[in-house]
Symmetry: C2
């Protein structure tokens, strides 16, 4: 499997009061077309990841909307896996290309979240959990993840300070990303002293509510060659699901869907975690980055938090994670996140990340989660040559 | 392209007060597995079409939910194209099979609509139109389609009585379908004298708000052969989009996405409308069935209404349309509709439709629309042998 990335684009993430859902979609689509040096009529299929447009903007049918913005009539479909929707849109594009349904595909992720109240946002996002077994009992998403964090701290002896280090590191990277919603560095004290959301998680353990869109254009390898492009390729794709209801899981701290999705992606790419130069992991909450770092095989279960706290995944380390700033600092317009992760990895592999560039990065991974680990999609990208780490 | 249908299943459609979204999904999934004589662990991928679960039941992440119900951890994704979501789920399945991503795929459509008020339902369904240019100005979906109907009657001289014949015919078929929401025959007078919804459309020109789910299991041809199945095959798939906003269209009475999607499906199948024995057309409103009948090439533009009114598409005619009762009588749980259409066509081609069976049907078509013709997906099915109509 080898699908070429022809171009990427995104909007600035943030509280974009002056931009509508349509504006965001139009802006990121145009940016990707410009980057790929293509016209709208070169696109023959569109897939768009979105979670909340219907609940937050009364707007569904984003497939038709995305095509309308470009004045084309191509097959255009919305992919839903809540916060994993963006990653699923890329997976649908790969499938369409490999099956012969499509040649040049535009992949979007978009979300407009800041036009609704906090209560509406919290309830809307809770749709990723179980309405019957979790929402009904008053649980919010942060409260569910807080229980996971508490258990992890208890079982593996992770301190509150070590947990806080995840957000500090992500903001360190995000401070170098002009597209980031929260483009500034923070200290451990900021995290510890920020308002409590759900014990032990404070405001700075949680990704922000953001507006934004991201787009990627992919094509068959031969199409890319004809265009004379020096491309990044998608070399692995994996997806899995797990019980929606947290209490039905075998173990709250090992997310089976993380493991299965990563395993499938590694297998398809013919590599392992040791070969990954850079990775964008889904840090909707600080603890989720730790769990996922372990589930994806970057270290043993229980060691992830301490490894991150020791700086072993920072920008200048051997294993940089979330060079974009992650969901925490770049922002988390939920349906757009998975595609924004891809934009970052592709730009890193192309050497276009300026101050936050990881020298010599050749193989990158994106990890996108919907719900509390219930929907996971992992992609692996490669640019010619060998990985910094040996492959 | 040849993908085999191994099994189909559906719930009764209706106002199912005693069944939750999860119950519906579980029931149709089990029915399809039983029909295919497969175990949940035989399924390696799931695609589910849904429109309103988040807005009407606070439940998203239906991918994980569908897999959880079967206690499997497979890739499971939600497809969104509003009322066309079900058809898009089958298209995603075909793509996944043809690309090698999947071997045995479960396709679902599900909707639970009767737990919310009429106002919530009308507003929720309006998400298929444009929030900025239509909803904002107070338009409802019936009011938009009513303008289309008025224009058609004016331009092509269709009488109110002729328009009513569409619903009468669909109810005639639905009366023979034990799964139908409104399983009873009606007269032209019922339609004409029912409450006005949006002039000229009365209540009986509009499909009902229904609960229901439908499932289909598809597989690679070689897998079907190994199982020794005498299968119906999917031989054509086409999808297209058109401007979301009705006023941006070139012509309100020719729906470009209808034409493009059908053209692509005919081309893939190597046949034309003259070869189609039976078809399930998207009759969300009576006028939409007429427009679509024409757009798909069954007759010239402007002649569809009169042809249907003359009984030339009735069950015992040469060209039976909506043998299931259509959206009007079988019911329209929006995300489930596209899959329910497929269930009907497959059962017709297998000769399992009892009193409403069309003898000798070999080639069938499903036509599924999201929005006012803005998202369209068409599939063509065939069972060995030649069509009644010559192919």
């Amino acid at each position: 499997m080898k699908v070429a990335v022809l171009g990427v684009g995104l909007t600035k993430f943030g509280e974009l009061w002056d931009k509508s859902l349509t504006d965001l979609l139009a802006e990121s689509q145009r940016a990707a077309l410009r980057d790929a040096d293509l016209k709208p009529t070169d696109i023959d299929t569109i897939f768009t990841g979105n979670m909340c447009a219907k609940s937050f903007a009364n707007q569904g049918n984003l497939g038709a909307l995305a095509a309308q913005v470009l004045n084309i009539n191509v097959p255009s479909t919305v992919l839903g896996g809540e916060c994993a929707s963006g990653g699923l849109a890329l997976r649908a594009a790969i499938s369409a290309i490999e099956s012969g349904f499509a040649k040049v595909v535009l992949v979007n992720g978009v979300e407009k979240m800041t036009d609704v109240s906090s209560v509406q946002a919290t309830t809307g996002l809770m749709a990723a959990a179980s309405a019957e077994w979790e929402l009904f009992h008053g649980a919010t998403f942060p409260s569910l993840i807080a229980m996971v964090a508490r258990l992890y701290m208890d079982r593996y002896g992770l301190t509150r300070e070590e947990l806080a280090a995840v957000s500090v590191q992500n903001h360190e990277n995000g401070a170098l990303n002009p597209y980031a919603h929260l483009q500034r560095a923070i200290t451990k004290e900021h995290v510890l002293n920020s308002p409590m959301v759900a014990d032990p998680l404070t405001l700075f353990d949680c990704s922000p509510v953001s507006d934004g869109a991201a787009s990627v254009i992919v094509a068959r390898e031969d199409v890319a060659k004809k265009l004379g492009k020096d491309c990044v390729f998608v070399v692995g794709s994996g997806q899995a699901t797990d019980k929606l209801v947290l209490t039905e899981r075998d173990d709250l701290l090992t997310w089976k869907a993380n493991q299965l999705a990563a395993q499938a992606a590694y297998e398809m790419a013919g590599i392992g975690p040791q070969d990954i130069d850079i990775a964008e992991l889904h840090d909707g909450f600080s603890i989720v980055q730790i769990l996922s770092f372990e589930d994806l095989g970057f270290c043993k279960k229980g060691e992830g938090g301490k490894k991150i706290a020791r700086g072993q995944t920072s920008l200048r380390s051997d294993q940089p994670i979330n060079t974009s700033g992650g969901l925490k600092s770049r922002g988390h317009p939920v349906g757009a996140t998975g595609v924004a992760q891809i934009v970052e990895v592709v730009n890193q592999l192309r050497g276009r990340c300026g101050q936050r560039q990881v020298d010599g990065a050749r193989i990158g991974l994106t990890h996108n989660v919907g719900g509390a680990g219930s929907s996971v999609v992992v992609h692996i990208f490669q640019r010619g040559g060998t990985s910094r780490r040996g492959k």
